[in-house]
């Protein structure tokens, strides 16, 4: 026991001593589900947010040339670790704002019990639960990922316009899959489409063939999958293709991932379409994609764009607020409200000058314009993508 106690004390002392000298820097927290069920998605999201931090530091730093420091915390996709990571970020690291957590459950718990009372601004790049809109948050909780409702409905209308009138829907049984699937269903059926199969599945199972057989028994030749392309969505897509259950496949933004192309081969995905948010009338997405690819990232990874935007906007807001924690959330609305000089992904030096001159700026992100509504949500702009070469290519805008 004594040995153990000494060891623990030594470790703690060591940690405290080493963590101390970073006081002069401006810190933001990047909380994500690094371990746990979405472990496969988290690294790209964290890395793209760190790209934004890197760009800030390479282009003059934040405020008076200070370094922006990203503190990564593991929210493990559950409320227990989510609140723990948020408490550490807020109290020990003294972050000014937080990007994350990734999973809605962790977002709800961390905001309710930590960041809202502590007055720290939070932008989640991937928490899609409608419950987040309803938070009583003193306007400190935002998200860069558009609500599921919007995307589900837009996708439904687009499919009907393209002449697909009968589909089966498979969705992951979590807030993301369920939200999309229900929005899709109500819009699709409301406009005369037929849903010939509608079923949830648990993630992380190995075999989905019987699920697919059930879905196919309704007679639809198009399967709509609301799942993650590097999780069980990949498994479903593979088994559906191998067994010929369906001819056409449509995914939500979660399915627009490199994993299916890499693992299944582009030649097998000719009938696969996927919707995903895009920046409206700007080349912001290309600028981000190039920058992220240059540092070895995968720009089409799920929620990479929303994570990047969240971090970049948080940095802009901190600059605008002069580093004052209490003003960050108001500043966040100012830097992206559709009015002012447009700032695209990575244009930190330009933004910094404009902010210093007192000119209004308007961030146009890689994943959309991000003009927050009064609940801190963003309306999305979506495009439909198809697989082409080793990547995705826009087929059409969707409304």
């Amino acid at each position: 026991m004594n040995k153990f106690r000494t060891a623990l004390a030594a470790t703690l002392l060591g940690a405290t001593a080493m963590a101390a000298p970073a006081q002069a820097d401006v810190k933001i927290g990047l909380l994500g589900g690094v371990s746990g069920p979405i472990a496969a998605m988290a690294p790209a999201m964290i890395d793209s947010a760190r790209l934004a931090v890197q760009q800030v530091n390479d282009n003059g730093g934040i405020l008076d040339g200070e370094q922006l420091v990203a503190v990564v915390g593991d929210s493990a996709c559950n409320p227990q670790n989510g609140t723990d990571a948020a408490t550490k970020a807020v109290n020990i690291e003294n972050v000014i704002g937080i990007v994350g957590p990734h999973c809605s459950g962790a977002v709800l718990a961390a905001t309710n019990s930590v960041t809202i009372p502590a007055g720290v601004t939070v932008i989640t790049p991937s928490g899609t639960s409608p419950e987040i809109s309803g938070l009583n948050d003193n306007d400190t909780v935002f998200r860069t990922v558009p609500s599921d409702d919007f995307q589900g409905r837009a996708l439904a209308r687009t499919l009907l316009l393209r002449g697909t009138a009968k589909v089966a829907v498979a969705y992951l049984n979590n807030d993301y899959g369920k939200g999309l699937a229900e929005a899709f269903r109500s819009e699709f059926e409301g406009n005369g489409g037929e849903i010939a199969g509608f079923a949830a599945h648990e993630g992380e199972k190995a075999s989905y063939r019987s699920n697919l057989a059930e879905l196919a028994s309704g007679g639809a030749d198009t399967l709509v999958i609301f799942d993650y392309g590097d999780g069980s969505g990949l498994t479903m897509l593979r088994q559906a293709l191998e067994n010929g259950f369906f001819e056409n496949f449509v995914g939500g933004d979660g399915m627009k991932s490199d994993a299916p192309i890499k693992e299944l081969g582009a030649e097998n995905l000719t009938t696969f379409l996927s919707s995903a948010p895009v920046g409206e009338k700007s080349d912001s997405l290309e600028m981000f994609s190039k920058a992220f690819a240059d540092v070895g990232g995968d720009p089409s990874a799920i929620f990479a764009t929303t994570s990047y935007d969240a971090a970049f906007m948080l940095a802009l807001a901190i600059e605008k607020a002069g580093g004052d924690k209490a003003k960050v959330s108001a500043a966040l609305r100012e830097i992206s409200n559709g009015e002012g000089e447009p700032i695209r992904a990575g244009e930190w030096a330009k933004a910094k000058e404009l902010i210093a001159a007192g000119t209004a700026i308007d961030y146009k992100g890689a994943a959309g314009d991000h003009n927050f509504d009064d609940k801190g949500d963003v309306p999305g702009t979506y495009a439909l993508f198809k697989v082409s070469g080793d990547g995705f290519e826009v087929v059409s805008e969707i409304q």
Binding site: A15, A19, V72, A76, S104, L108, A109, S113, P117, N174
Partner: protein
């Protein structure tokens, strides 16, 4: 890093430790004193959390409740609901021994989790329940945290004293007798199945209360909180590390495991920034390793069961 931040963090940890200590105490009644291998803690935790959430949150369309009742009603309801669920489970499953009971309770907990995750009308399925009132939640951050800590610490103290009293009473001696030598206890005319069921229900009610306190602390409860790893296995580690059969050990184990779990992140964060993500995997490794070290040097737990209450550990007991 300012001391005030550290103090805030310590308050948060203390709240968490108190909540998990209720789970650990509940498990100690079942395993430490009675020898029941309940591996379905997450299930009772979930039932408690959701019951209290449904009882106390404001009314919402599309799901059961909320009934907007006072918070204490929710907590009592949580204990009752967990006990009510435990009763048939115990009635059916307690006849199984050891590992069979473990897998049966895991199964029940998984089924509970899937129901909670899938049924809109009952629990709002995957989206969970929000707007759960938190006592003194309107105070500024620090005061509200301190107030909640006072509440959970008070609840824990009452629970601890109650359990201690029961264990010291003839009831406790009888339970240990059943645990250590069931046949002898039965020969002395003890109603073994009934006593076991009693312990199972009592322990489960405490787990339900822990769940309720957790839900109110976060003002929200989602299915992600009732994952078996974080809500079942973690509690087992806490109890075994702390000292099964010793209530203070059960609480100390919670504190030590949470400190390891949480502080390990601070240690691995010292790695250079390019490894920030990998550091999180290293952290999980470190947690595993620390557990091994504690087990290596204190296999009987940090605070073992007091001498004289347990017979020599026989080959059979686990």
């Amino acid at each position: 890093m300012e001391w005030i931040g550290l103090a805030n963090y310590a308050v948060f940890m203390a709240i968490f430790i108190c909540i998990y200590a209720l789970l650990s105490l509940g498990l100690n009644i079942q395993w430490g004193f009675t020898g029941l291998f309940n591996a379905g803690i997450a299930g009772f935790f979930a039932v408690g959390a959701y019951t209290s959430a449904i009882l106390t949150s404001p009314a919402v369309e599309g799901r059961l409740g909320g009934f907007d009742l006072p918070v204490p009603v929710g907590w009592i309801g949580a204990m009752l609901a967990a006990a009510l669920i435990a009763w048939p489970i115990g009635k059916i499953c307690l006849r199984f021994r050891s590992d069979y009971l473990a897998i049966a309770t895991i199964g029940v907990a998984e089924i509970i989790r899937l129901v909670i995750k899938s049924e809109d009308w009952l629990t709002n399925s995957a989206r969970g329940i929000t707007d759960i009132p938190r006592p003194f939640g309107d105070l500024p951050y620090v005061y509200s945290q301190l107030a909640y800590l006072a509440i959970v610490a008070g609840v824990l103290l009452v629970a601890y004293l109650m359990v201690e009293r029961q264990i010291a009473a003839p009831w406790g001696r009888m339970m240990r007798a059943i645990r250590d030598n069931e046949d002898a206890a039965r020969a002395m005319g003890k109603d073994v199945p009934f006593r076991r069921l009693e312990a199972f229900i009592f322990g489960s009610a405490l787990m339900g209360l822990g769940g309720a306190l957790f839900a109110h602390f976060n003002r929200t409860i989602t299915p992600e909180a009732i994952d078996p790893m974080i809500a079942t296995f973690l509690v087992w580690i806490m109890l075994i590390l702390g000292g099964s059969g010793n209530n203070r050990g059960a609480i100390l184990g919670v504190a030590v495991v949470w400190i390891i779990w949480s502080m390990s992140e601070i240690v691995t964060d010292q790695l250079p920034h390019e490894y920030a993500v990998k550091a999180k995997y290293m952290r999980v490794f470190l947690i595993g390793l620390m557990l091994q070290l504690v087990l290596r040097f204190r296999p009987e737990g940090l605070l073992p069961e007091p001498q004289g209450t347990r017979e020599e550990v026989s080959e059979k007991s686990k």
